[in-house]
Symmetry: C2
């Protein structure tokens, strides 16, 4: 076990495609969408056998600080890092990096989105251990998810030459990242066997990532150093806020991974899912003999209805007739109805709510 | 004007196909489904220029007495007749008949369901005047609705030989009633030009209908006479209740109209609609440029949605994506979703709710 291994859980997303359950006040990662625990709780519990809570950091917006502490009892308060605003994954990861460096210059950080579901947690941890070992050789490591269909919504990792095996896992250098390909390319990628989905799960030594940031994102790096300097002082919050006004919006993929030289991947096949929308969520859940998934605490009456997902809030009753492959999500104040193949467009609903300034439903 | 003309409004239906707005506590006829007034209010206002409130009777279940008096201010309390329970239209009409006979032996009664919509109220009243004149000749008169499509859900009236014109309206003897024909027969009926829909609007002298009841429904007639005798006494309620335990469930169509000898019809073409289900209701209302009808006091966001009816209750928000020809009816506690062509099956939802004893949603 690496006592210098830290988990950085990024819990800042808004999960707009899972509206109206995922809302500004309680985004996806704070909901029990898949199991009986919230996705944040499952993320923490999944990694805990490897990384105790003292070494788990959660990066989140200020408004969700309390939720994090409530959902993860025992998490030290100082392990909740508050981002003044969303600036993409690069500043978020960089902040965790400079804070960790002050705690432990030998730290290795493993970055986990808070809203992924992984069926085989033990297998996942084995892969993290392997990736940690690869990281010790100075690589930026990303877990490569074995694709099982030509999804056009993900980034793809093309593997290059083999490295040796780590903790029983074959690792590869990364040849290239490709953002969301079209259908045809995605199919070719999957058929070739040389590509993995980029799930946004990274492992690297603090030193490695901060050096790469200095080279590839110098203005972000400069702001982060300013924050680092003020961190132990009473000016922490003020400087962080002003730095965040300066830092450019950048993802770690675009800003670092696609440009860095020593990038490796450890493939995983552990039942990964990013619970991207209501249709993919529904596919993860047990259905009844008509293929319907029924969740929530209210009552439902589904006549001539199949292969549909229905969530009903407490005290309410939903009746449907003649639906097939539908999504119905009923919360106390807002309701979504769409065919499953429109599930990605739920994002447009949220954008439109924003445009109309119907904040109470965001 | 016939000062002996009385209106008997039958307000006892449950409107189950308009669930979840039409509920046991507030059935269809007490809702503002079409305009800004309830259907009962529109029924009263439609006939009032011809029949003042003192001569309007409303027959209703005990639980809706208060609603009727609230919705029709000025209606004398004694004009609300309380049926102890639903027994079909024949006992309901018979009760109104014996009560009216005590007020005015020369009464003519016009029977109106409380849940019909009529676009041309003035034209309708003209036809009622005509029918009243036919009734004075001893006929049982039914208004015959000019059919505009081969509906298989209605009963049809086949006209026989012409009578003369009454109040400018041609009247006919009725040759035959046919209950809900199949598609093919319905089409033949409409094409022939000799058939009308039976809308359940009747005009007859008290004497005529009560004599027919005595001949054709003697056991009902006997019970009604028992009620009539007790009516002016303190035993009214008790006798009515015991009579209602005896009277057979019978419709006026099956029990009287199909068997009586002197039956006439006055055709009407006045934009009649029985607002039978959500799809037919929707067709009566103004739609936006995508064919959507939006009602209720909440908010809606319809993406890529057309030709649909959406009712949203206050404080709630409905988002749909990719719906076409759908019905969405959202009330504070219950929600219905179905394609328009399943609108008739809403009745099955109500039956199923009943079977499951989910009374709070009935």
């Amino acid at each position: 076990m690496n006592d210098h291994l830290y988990a950085v859980i990024m819990a800042g997303g808004i999960g707009s495609r899972l509206w109206p359950r995922s809302r500004a006040a309680t985004p996806k990662q704070f909901l029990d969408l898949v199991g009986s625990r919230t996705m944040l709780q499952e993320t923490v519990e999944r990694i805990e056998p490897l990384v105790p809570l003292e070494r788990v950091l959660v990066v989140v917006g200020e408004e969700h600080r309390k939720t994090v502490l409530e959902q993860v009892p025992g998490l030290p308060e100082e392990n909740v890092l508050l981002e003044p605003g969303p600036r993409g994954t690069a500043p978020c990861i960089g902040l965790a990096g400079v804070v960790l460096r002050q705690r432990d210059v030998e730290a290795t950080m493993a970055v986990f989105p808070a809203d992924h579901r992984i069926a085989d947690a033990a297998g996942f941890r084995e892969a993290v251990v392997a990736a940690d070992e690869v990281a010790q050789e100075g690589y930026l490591v990303t877990l490569g998810i074995e694709p099982d269909h030509p999804n056009t919504g993900y980034g793809y990792i093309e593997r290059g030459s083999s490295l040796h095996k780590f903790n029983g896992h074959q690792a590869y250098e990364v040849k290239r990242f490709t953002e969301k390909p079209d259908e045809e390319r995605a199919r070719a990628f999957v058929e070739s066997g040389d590509y993995y989905w980029n799930g946004g799960i990274f492992i690297w030594k603090i030193e490695t990532i901060l050096n790469e940031m200095e080279d590839l994102l110098p203005s972000l790096s400069a702001e982060l150093e300013r924050v680092a300097e003020a961190w132990p002082t009473s000016r922490r919050k003020e400087v962080l806020k002003s730095a965040w006004e300066q830092v450019p919006q950048t993802t770690i993929d675009y800003g670092i991974m696609e440009k860095a030289s020593r990038v490796a991947t450890v493939p995983i096949d552990v039942g990964w899912d990013d619970v991207g929308n209501w249709a993919t969520l529904s596919a993860l859940l047990d259905s009844d003999d008509r293929g319907n998934v029924i969740r929530g605490k209210g009552k439902v009456l589904l006549l001539d209805t199949k292969d549909s997902y229905v969530y009903v809030s407490q005290g309410r009753m939903i009746a449907t007739i003649g639906l097939e492959d539908f999504v119905v999500v009923d919360t106390p104040d807002a309701l979504l109805i769409c065919p499953k193949d429109e599930a990605q467009a739920v994002r447009d609903v949220v954008q439109e709510l924003d445009a109309r300034e119907w904040e109470e439903y965001l």
